[in-house]
C-alpha cells in the first residue's frame, strides 16, 4: 500500500502556515468546523484503514492507477525530449479531481456529515463531488459562477443527473472565486451536517495540505510507472497546469525534495498578461500577497486589495488566487511558474489530438503548450512528464467556438430549432 502522507521541507506547520503563506483566516463561526476537520484529517493520516479504504476506491471505483503513456509521435514531432503523459483524464469522471473528492468524502463520513457542498470552475470538481455524493448517499449542492455555469452546461447537466443541486452564483465576477465565497457562506449557515468539499489545494487550513495529500497518489504512481514500465529512475522535468494548484501539487509532491527534477507550473495567460482582467497569471508580474477566502497567498488584486477579474479559455484556471504551498514553492524557487496564452492552448489541444489521439482538457493543454516550447530545446535523452489532469470532452463547445467550426454552429442552430 502506498503512503500518500509524505513529509517535505515545504510542508505547513501545525497551524497550516507554509512559512508566511496559508493559515486560517476565517470568521469565528467556521473555526469549530475547520478544527473538527483538521482533527479527523490528522486521525485519518494515522489510520492505515483509512488509506486502505481510499486505495481500494482509487483502484476499483476510479480506475487507478491511471496510465503513464509515452507520447512517441508527439515527442518525435517536437524533436527533443521524450514526453510522457500522466493520463489523469482516464479517471472516473474524467479528471484528477476525483482523487481528493474520494478522500474528503471518506473524511466527511468519518465526521458523520450527511451533505456535501462544493464550488466548481470548469465543473470537473463539481462533477466529481456530485459523483461521490451519489455513491455515498449524501446530499449535494454545487456552486458555480454564472459565467462558468453557462459555458460548462454539459457538466451542469451531468451534475444534476447525479442528483446534485447546482446553483449559479450571480454575485461578484460570477466566476470560481465567487463560487468559493458562496460555498463558504452555505457552510457558515449549515455547518452542522455539511462538509465543504473544497476543490483545490487552497482555502483555510487544513485544506491545502489535505487536498495535496489526496492528490499525491499521482506523483507516486508516476515514480513507480517510470521505473517499472520504462526503466527511468526519475524524470528530468515535470510540467503541470496551475489554477488553484491541486493537480500540480499532487504530481510535484513526491519530487519536491529531489532538486534534480525540474518542476514547472503553467498559469493561464489568457489573452495576454499585459492587461488586468485578461488573464489568470498570478506569479508573473510583481505578484502581490493577500488574504482572501481564508488563506494567505498571491492574488491578482489592486492597490486596495480588491480581487481583480480574471480570464482564461479554461474555466478551471480562471481564478485570481493560487494555493499557499505554491506561493512558498515560488518564493523558494523550487518550482518555476510560467504561462501560456489561450491561442497556444488551442494549438496544443489540436496537436495532441492529431498526434496521439488524445483529447485533453483545456486546463491540461496549458501544460502541453508549455512542453511544446520546452521539449525542442532539450536532448532526446531527457524525459518530460506532463500531468494531463483531465480529458477534454467537456470543452466541446469552447473548442468548437475557438476553432470557429461552421458545421458545429449549424448543428447547434438546428438543435435549437428542433420542436419538442
Amino acid at each position: 500500500m502506498k503512503n500518500i502522507f509524505l513529509k517535505t521541507q515545504y510542508d505547513a506547520d501545525k497551524r497550516g502556515h507554509f512559512k508566511k503563506y496559508g493559515g486560517r483566516y476565517v470568521p469565528e463561526m467556521l473555526i469549530p468546523a475547520l478544527e473538527n476537520l483538521e482533527k479527523s484529517y490528522y486521525e485519518a493520516r494515522k489510520d492505515p484503514k483509512f488509506t486502505q479504504e481510499l486505495m481500494e476506491l482509487f483502484q476499483n471505483y476510479s480506475g487507478r492507477p491511471t496510465p503513464l503513456y509515452f507520447a512517441k509521435n508527439f515527442s518525435e514531432h517536437l524533436g527533443g525530449a521524450k514526453i510522457f503523459l500522466k493520463q489523469e483524464g482516464l479517471n472516473h469522471t474524467g479528471a484528477h479531481k476525483i482523487n481528493h473528492c474520494l478522500g474528503q468524502a471518506l473524511l466527511a463520513l468519518r465526521m458523520g456529515k450527511t451533505r456535501l457542498i462544493a464550488e466548481t470552475g470548469a465543473g470537473q470538481h463539481g462533477l466529481a463531488t456530485a459523483t461521490v455524493a451519489a455513491k455515498f448517499g449524501m446530499k449535494c449542492t454545487v456552486y458555480m459562477g454564472k459565467v462558468d455555469y453557462e459555458r460548462q452546461r454539459p457538466n451542469v447537466f451531468w451534475m444534476e443527473r447525479l442528483g446534485a443541486e447546482v446553483i449559479p452564483v450571480m454575485h461578484g465576477t460570477q466566476r470560481l472565486k465567487d463560487a468559493v465565497t458562496a460555498t463558504l457562506q452555505d457552510w457558515i449557515a449549515n455547518v452542522d451536517d455539511t462538509h465543504y468539499l473544497l476543490g483545490s489545494a487552497l482555502g483555510p487550513h487544513p485544506y491545502p495540505s489535505m487536498v495535496r495529500d489526496f492528490q499525491t497518489i499521482v506523483g507516486l504512481e508516476v515514480k513507480q510507472q517510470l521505473k517499472e514500465n520504462y526503466g527511468i529512475n526519475k524524470p528530468d522535468v515535470i510540467i503541470a497546469c496551475v489554477g488553484g494548484g491541486s493537480n500540480a501539487i499532487g504530481i510535484f509532491n513526491p519530487y519536491l525534495e529531489d532538486k534534480n527534477v525540474r518542476l514547472i507550473g503553467v498559469e493561464a495567460g489568457g489573452k495576454g498578461i499585459g492587461t488586468v482582467g485578461n488573464h489568470a497569471a498570478r506569479l508573473q508580474k510583481n505578484p502581490k500577497v493577500g488574504v482572501v477566502e481564508g488563506y494567505k497567498s498571491y492574488f491578482l488584486q489592486d492597490k486596495d486589495g480588491q480581487v481583480q477579474n480574471t480570464h482564461s479559455i479554461s474555466a478551471g484556471l480562471d481564478y485570481a488566487g493560487i494555493g499557499p504551498e505554491h506561493a512558498l514553492l515560488w518564493e523558494k524557487k523550487r518550482v518555476e511558474y510560467n504561462y501560456v496564452v489561450d491561442k497556444e492552448v488551442i494549438e496544443a489541444f489540436n496537436l495532441l489530438a492529431r498526434k496521439e489521439g488524445i483529447i485533453a482538457a483545456l486546463e491540461s493543454c496549458h501544460a502541453v503548450a508549455y512542453a511544446m516550447k520546452l521539449a525542442p530545446k532539450l536532448s532526446s535523452k531527457k524525459n518530460i512528464v506532463i500531468n494531463l489532469s483531465g480529458r477534454g470532452d467537456k470543452d466541446i463547445f469552447i473548442v468548437a467556438d475557438a476553432l470557429k467550426d461552421k458545421k458545429w454552429k449549424e448543428f447547434i442552430k438546428n438543435k435549437s430549432r428542433e420542436k419538442n
Partner: protein, 271 residues
C-alpha cells in the same frame, strides 16, 4: 466625541438596549453614505459601523454583498472610507467603527491602517476574518491596542466554550455575537436557540454583548432586552433604504430606526 466605553455607560444609565447600525461606504454613493450616517445619528443610534467595501465579503449576505459590489463599481477606495470617517467623526458625537475584511488592512499595512483609523476618529474595528491564531503573524490586536481602537471580537452560535474564553480574553469595548448561523441579512425569525446561546456567551464574556444578524423588527429588539446590551441592525436598514420611494430614502430610514429605538427601552411603554 464620546468613546465606546462612555456610550455603553450612557446606554446602561438610560436603562435601554443600545443600537448599532451599519452602512457600506460608497453605497449608494459617498455623498449619500454621509447623509445616511447623519440620519442614523439624528435618529439616535449609539454606534455606526462603516463597512469598507471589499470584493469578496465572505461573511455578508446578499443585501450587503450587493452594496459592496455597488460601492466598488462606484470606484470607492479605502482612502474614501478614511475620508468619510474623518468627516463624520468631526460632525457627530457617537462612536464610529470600521467594519471590513482583513485583506484591506493587510494591504494597507496593519500599523498604518490602525494609526490612520485613529487619526480619523475611528473608535473600533470589526474585522471578522482575522482569528486570534493569526495574531503572531499579523499583530492586529497589538496595533489596534496601540492606537486605542477597540478590537471587537465576533463570536457565533458555533463557538465552543474554549473559543469563547479565548476571545473573551482579548475582547475590548463590546463583543459582537452573531445571533444565528449564516451570513448577514434580515430574517423574520430570529434563531430560536439565541437565548440559550447568549447565556453560553454571557457565562464567559464580562463586557457588553452586541447581537447582530437578522434584526429587522421591533419584536426582535424587544426579545433582546435584558439579555444583551446592544442590538445591531445591518441589512434591514439597507433594505428599508432600497424600498423607500425615490427622494424619501432618508426619511424612511429615520422612521424605521426611530421605531426600533423606541422599542429598545427597558421601561414598558405607557399606553
Amino acid at each position: 466625541m464620546v468613546s465606546i466605553q462612555q456610550q455603553l455607560q450612557k446606554i446602561k444609565k438610560e436603562n435601554r438596549l443600545g443600537i448599532m447600525t451599519h452602512i457600506v461606504v460608497g453605497y449608494p454613493s459617498l455623498k449619500e453614505s454621509e447623509k445616511i450616517i447623519q440620519t442614523m445619528a439624528d435618529a439616535g443610534v449609539d454606534f455606526i459601523e462603516l463597512q469598507i467595501p471589499f470584493s469578496d465579503p465572505m461573511a455578508d449576505g446578499p443585501t450587503i454583498m450587493q452594496a459592496n459590489r455597488h460601492a466598488l463599481q462606484n470606484k470607492t477606495k479605502v482612502k474614501d472610507a478614511f475620508g468619510l470617517m474623518k468627516k463624520m467623526s468631526g460632525k457627530i458625537s457617537i462612536p464610529l467603527l470600521f467594519m471590513g475584511y482583513f485583506n484591506t488592512i493587510f494591504n494597507y499595512g496593519v500599523e498604518r491602517f490602525c494609526r490612520e483609523a485613529m487619526e480619523c476618529g475611528c473608535s473600533g474595528l470589526i474585522f471578522p476574518d482575522i482569528p486570534l491564531e493569526e495574531e503572531a503573524k499579523e499583530h492586529f490586536l497589538k496595533f489596534a491596542k496601540k492606537y486605542n481602537l477597540s478590537n471587537i471580537r465576533v463570536l457565533s452560535p458555533a463557538s465552543t466554550p474554549e473559543r469563547i474564553k479565548k476571545n473573551a480574553e482579548v475582547a475590548d469595548g463590546f463583543l459582537y455575537f452573531v445571533g444565528r448561523k449564516g451570513t448577514t441579512g434580515a430574517k423574520t425569525k430570529l434563531d430560536e436557540a439565541l437565548n440559550c446561546n447568549l447565556e453560553k456567551i454571557k457565562k464567559y464574556v464580562k463586557i457588553p454583548v452586541a447581537v447582530g444578524f437578522g434584526i429587522s423588527e421591533t419584536k426582535h429588539i424587544k426579545s433582546l432586552i435584558g439579555k444583551a446590551e446592544v442590538a445591531v441592525i445591518g441589512s434591514a436598514v439597507l433594505d428599508r433604504y432600497a424600498k423607500a420611494g425615490i427622494g424619501k430614502e432618508l426619511e424612511g430610514v429615520k422612521k424605521f430606526l426611530k421605531l426600533l429605538i423606541n422599542s429598545a427601552s427597558y421601561k414598558k411603554p405607557t399606553r
